[in-house]
């Protein structure tokens, strides 16, 4: 199923957070949303998830208007990883991941639930800590647990706000590879990323937001424009060829701190 936002606006405290933003993520695609702090990325994701109702415009998953869906219907259609998930959950990793199965509790068997939880635990490399108390884990392990919980929900649309924020480089790749795999199976993946190179490596489409507007949209090679990025991030940025795969590679130009000069 695709997820579509049609000309949505969100106003908070008299400030326009999103200004008539239109957004589409098709089935089977990984769409990355990037942009500077305060651009409206998380607000857009929360509107796509139905956490907030836009002041104008409509969000639809497949053919269904999100605002008309019941809580459990929404949970079957989309899963969402928030930017700020709790760290003080007094359950084991496996139990936290199993909470993602809540919406399917009456339509799934215990074996099916256990299989989905096991698969998510394995995919996120949590096998060694699966029976440990969630509250005792490192920040990165906790983040992977929350991602695993979102995957265990088996929703058709996956919305993730900075899923790699606390992760080391290996686990960043692990999470993004897992999301790519799910997209290949027909899920729709929308992911907010600060790391433009991660977006360039794993996204089919990159959407760049600035001050509540979409300022670029397209394949990463097209969306990652030096002039645009430098203006949006208010910092000089170069886009060069990646030394190995020759794709776009974003480099901030740290001239004042350039140790070679």
């Amino acid at each position: 199923m695709s997820v579509v936002a049609d000309s949505i606006s969100v106003v908070a405290g008299g400030v326009a957070i999103l200004k008539e933003v239109s957004f589409t993520a098709e089935r089977g695609a990984v769409v990355a949303i990037a942009g500077p702090n305060g651009a409206g990325k998380s607000t857009l994701l929360r509107a796509l998830a139905g956490d907030l109702v836009p002041d104008a415009g409509v969000v639809a998953i497949g053919d269904h208007d999100l605002s008309g869906m019941a809580t459990n219907e929404r949970a079957a259609a989309r899963a969402m990883l928030g930017q700020f998930e709790r760290h003080d959950i007094p359950f084991s990793v496996r139990e936290v991941v199993a909470m993602g199965r809540y919406a399917r509790r009456n339509r799934s068997t215990a074996q099916r639930d256990a299989a989905a939880v096991d698969a998510a635990v394995r995919l996120l490399d949590l096998g060694d800590v699966a029976d440990r108390s969630f509250a005792t884990l490192s920040g990165g392990e906790q983040q992977r647990t929350h991602v695993a919980r979102v995957l265990a929900q088996e929703a058709t649309v996956l919305l993730l706000d900075e899923p790699t924020g606390s992760l080391d480089v290996g686990h960043q790749r692990l999470v993004m590879t897992a999301l790519r795999g799910l997209a290949a199976e027909g899920r729709t993946v929308v992911v907010v990323l600060h790391d433009l190179n991660l977006a360039a490596a794993f996204a089919d489409t990159l959407v760049i937001l600035s001050r509540g507007d979409v300022v670029a949209r397209g394949a990463p090679a097209a969306a990652l424009d030096e002039g645009l990025l430098s203006a949006v991030y208010e910092y000089p940025i170069r886009v060069v060829a990646h030394p190995i795969h020759r794709g776009p590679f974003v480099v901030p130009v740290d001239s004042e701190h350039d140790r070679s000069g």
Binding site: D51, A75, E85, R86, P90, F91, V96, M99, Y102
Partner: protein, 334 residues
């Protein structure tokens, strides 16, 4: 049997010992034979054969059954509130629910013309309990952090207590219990009639909490994340809070306003059965029941023929625990 099962068997055995000790403690000595004849006679509907039999049947049994019920409800209500609000400081007394039910019970005595029935008392106590229990969600939503939330509840509890005391003084009714009953609780003079009228509320309240066990587990994710996985949070909160209000209303009709059992019982049971509410809720009920019977036994044993209000005993133990919770900064659930 899992480890938590063995622990619960141990706790249940301990509670049984306390109940038996309580049944046979008091000014009037009752032998096991007299207790048996009293029970059999009570079931058959015949008159008590001796003073001991009469005391056992009309005073000891309703008192201890009432203490078990009230303690079970308070323990389970505490566990449910702690799950709903994700703080180990939540307790029906600290959040004002018990004081509200106390105000309802006092109001029942004042507004009814003559000879208020136990039914009206239980009903008004439950209604006031439900109203304030539902109100705690509004406090929680605006308070933000658990400390401010519980402080708001305590302020509400003290306000309701003050109004109850004002009501007692203004009404000046000989039919009203003393205000100590509304501050520290009391199980003395509990009759079968009160137990009979409080029983449905206690059972309905606990049933509403028990069906919410899995929902309360998932609420550990926080309300936003729980909603995202499909928990209908407003409905779950309403069911839990109505359960707490109705149950606590019954406990106040039985035993007056008693604090800290809702704090102590889950704190004692969580290390034994874990954080999952499908085990923690019934375990806290068993623990709370045992604690209140034990507290009552202490209350009527330590000062000879004079009874200390049972809530004084629970506060003497529960107060320091609350301080410990605050000092250790285990405000959020761990």
């Amino acid at each position: 049997m899992p480890r938590s099962g063995w622990w619960m068997a141990g706790v249940a055995s301990l509670v049984t010992v306390v109940v038996v000790a309580s049944l046979f403690s008091g000014e009037v000595a009752v032998s096991p034979g007299e207790a048996w004849r009293s029970l059999v006679g009570g079931v058959a509907g015949s008159e008590a054969g001796s003073t001991a039999e009469a005391v056992f049947r009309a005073i000891r049994l309703p008192r201890i059954l009432g203490a078990l019920l009230a303690g079970a409800v308070l323990g389970m209500a505490g566990a449910a509130l702690q799950g709903l609000y994700r703080t180990r400081m939540a307790d029906p007394f600290l959040l004002g629910v018990s004081s509200a039910a106390g105000f309802g019970a006092a109001l029942a005595v004042v507004v009814s013309p003559v000879g208020v029935s136990s039914g009206v008392t239980a009903l008004l106590a439950a209604a006031a309990g439900v109203a304030v229990a539902l109100g705690t969600r509004a406090i929680a939503r605006s308070a933000g952090d658990p400390g401010a939330f519980v402080l708001g509840g305590v302020a509400l509890a003290l306000t309701l207590l003050a109004w109850t005391v004002i009501l007692i003084f203004v009404a000046d009714s000989p039919r009203l219990p003393t205000f100590a009953y509304f501050v520290f609780g009391g199980l003395g003079g509990l009759t079968w009639s009160v137990v009979f009228w409080a029983l449905p509320g206690a059972l309905v309240g606990m049933a509403l909490l028990l069906v919410s066990g899995r929902d309360l587990d998932v609420l550990a994710l926080g309300e936003t994340a729980a909603t995202r996985v499909g928990v209908p949070v407003p409905r779950v909160a309403a069911v839990v809070l109505v359960g707490v209000g109705v149950g606590v209303g019954a406990s106040v009709a039985l035993a007056g306003v008693i604090g800290f059992v809702g704090l102590l019982a889950p704190a004692a049971m969580r290390p034994l059965v874990g954080p999952g509410h499908r085990a923690l809720l019934p375990a806290s009920a068993v623990g709370g029941a045992g604690m209140l019977v034990a507290a009552d036994l202490i209350a009527r044993s330590v000062a000879g023929p004079v009874e200390i209000p049972v809530g004084i005993v629970t506060a003497a133990v529960g107060g320091p625990l609350l301080v410990a919770v605050v000092v250790r900064r285990t405000v959020g659930l761990r």
